[in-house]
Amino acid sequence: MNFSFNRFGYLLKLQLAVNRKLYLLGIASIAGILLGFMFFLSYVSEFGYESQEFVFATGLILSSAVFSSTIFRQFARTDDRIMAMMLPASAAERLAVALLLAIVFYPFVFILICIPCTLLVNYINLHWNRYESGFYLPVNATALYAFLLNICIQSLVLLGAIWFRRHVFVKSAVAVCLLVFAVVLVNNGSARTMINKSRTAEFYQRDTLYNFDSAVPYYSINLQAHTKVADGMYNIGHYYHVALRPAVQIPFLLIPALILVLLWCVTWMKIREQQL
């Protein structure tokens, strides 16, 4: 793999300089949208801690996806494409710049936009509406999950950005939704198959509904047994969370991380294979 840190630096500088107007405009629009949405939430309900957490996580993922879908925009138009492809930089350097911008640089910028917006709305709520709420800082477990999920989604969007030439965001969003849907189906389906294969005859009780939700095969599974009360009505019943022992959880968690590496490899290959 051909990689030079010097060229990586030049490429990063070039990407930021060429798109600086777009990025500044984007920052202003995101700040505007966030403020608008936060004021709307505080108007219809209370802009409490959970609402702030929700706005941060969804805002981060959605706006990151929009940003990531523009990273390879120089490959979209033929005239830009020729100039971009003839620039002496390797596919690895281009991918590294894209990843740095999408999963490090942009989330950092988003934090810098979101925190002042949240502060402002909280301040106004406190002084005008006399509503006091906790101030959300993205340092808890939810924020960590949001960042991790963001890395996965942005990796997919980057692949879409190089794969598709037009309507990149829409096509990438559809691809992400399809993939999430497929993962959920495969997870639950494979979990159900595994449980059904290894169950004993006495395991099942009559008039009991069994669910295998939130299943991550070979890692953890939620087993739910709902007892029938009447036709179509079930008690919440028992709920079991079965997971691997902590000592072996990490290796199994690393397997989904390999999917990320695979996505980056495919993106790298697509950049290498680009033709006019």
């Binding site: 051909n2 060229r7 500088k13 070039l14 300089a17 100039m83 492809m85 003839m86 002496p88 930089a89």
Partner: protein, 278 residues
């Protein structure tokens, strides 16, 4: 320097754009790549610089496989495209951002070429006309000191004085280890500039000959009456009499009229091409 062997390329199956194209190009020469619109000139250039990959055949450019597009290869090859869009910045900033990618970039040369082209130094690129932007890009291309310079219709969009400036800059800039291919259908613009002519027609390269050999084999003359010349291969009506391409039997020296030659080759293939196979 550039070796293409039995290159086949098509955008769609069954519709070849380049069919069994073989070329061998040497350093220190300017090649004029001529052909009608849609003859495959741009596709050939794109295959040489790795923007398109051939379906079959072998291509080697300055010792590299172009389809791998390695940075060390891209540093030594520069394509001036027919259509382009420059970023919204001034010339100094453009230089600051793009020249680090070309280690051999000649800054003083670039400014000299800008002077010849009469381009103000610190203008915003977006404020320049398309022709002026093209001249900035031509100056940049030459200043990269790339071993292979590919120019796709470089004179399109240039006014008449600019075409003269273009010829002046190109003629004085080629080093011995550089090779330049200029693709155009405006063949008159290349008069007295090129060393070797490559003509493409119907997916093939039908002729690759040095200018000296062309004028050795053919004579280009203006005559008042067609009776003044013996069996011309090709004639065109001129303001006073006729412009004639004939076999150079008397070993006369004449100046190559590129446009006449191009038209003659395309219209009288059967009588002209065999002359160069002898």
């Amino acid at each position: 320097m550039i070796s293409l062997q039995h290159l086949h390329f098509s955008y769609r199956k069954g519709r070849p754009v380049l069919d069994d194209v073989s070329l061998s190009l040497r350093p220190g020469r300017i090649y004029g790549l001529l052909g009608r619109n849609g003859a495959g000139k741009s596709s050939l250039l794109y295959n040489i610089c790795g923007l398109l990959f051939p379906q079959s055949g072998k291509s080697e450019v300055i010792g590299f496989d172009p389809s791998k597009r390695e940075p060390s290869f891209l540093q030594q090859i520069y394509l001036l495209p027919e259509v382009f869009r420059l970023p919204d910045m001034d010339i100094a900033q453009y230089l600051q951002l793009f020249t680090p990618f070309y280690p051999a970039f000649d800054h003083s040369g670039f400014h000299q070429y800008l002077e010849v082209f009469e381009i103000p130094r610190n203008h915003q690129l977006s404020a320049l006309s398309h022709g002026q932007q093209k001249k900035v890009l031509i100056a940049f291309a030459i200043a990269t000191r790339a071993k292979v310079l590919l120019m796709d219709e470089p004179t399109n969009g240039l006014d008449i004085p600019s075409k003269h400036q273009f010829r002046k800059v190109i003629a004085g800039s080629l080093a011995e280890d550089q090779c330049m291919i200029i693709s155009t259908h405006q063949v008159k613009d290349l008069d007295s500039l090129i060393d070797e002519v490559i003509i493409m027609d119907g997916t093939h390269v039908i002729l690759q000959e040095p200018v000296t050999r062309i004028t050795e084999k053919l004579s280009f003359r203006h005559v008042m009456s067609l009776e003044e010349t013996e069996a011309p291969l090709y004639t065109e009506g001129a303001l006073k009499g006729y412009a004639v391409v004939a076999v150079n039997r008397r070993q006369e020296h004449s100046r190559l009229d590129m446009e006449m030659f191009f038209n003659a080759v395309l219209l009288e293939k059967k009588s002209i091409l065999p002359l160069f196979k002898q």
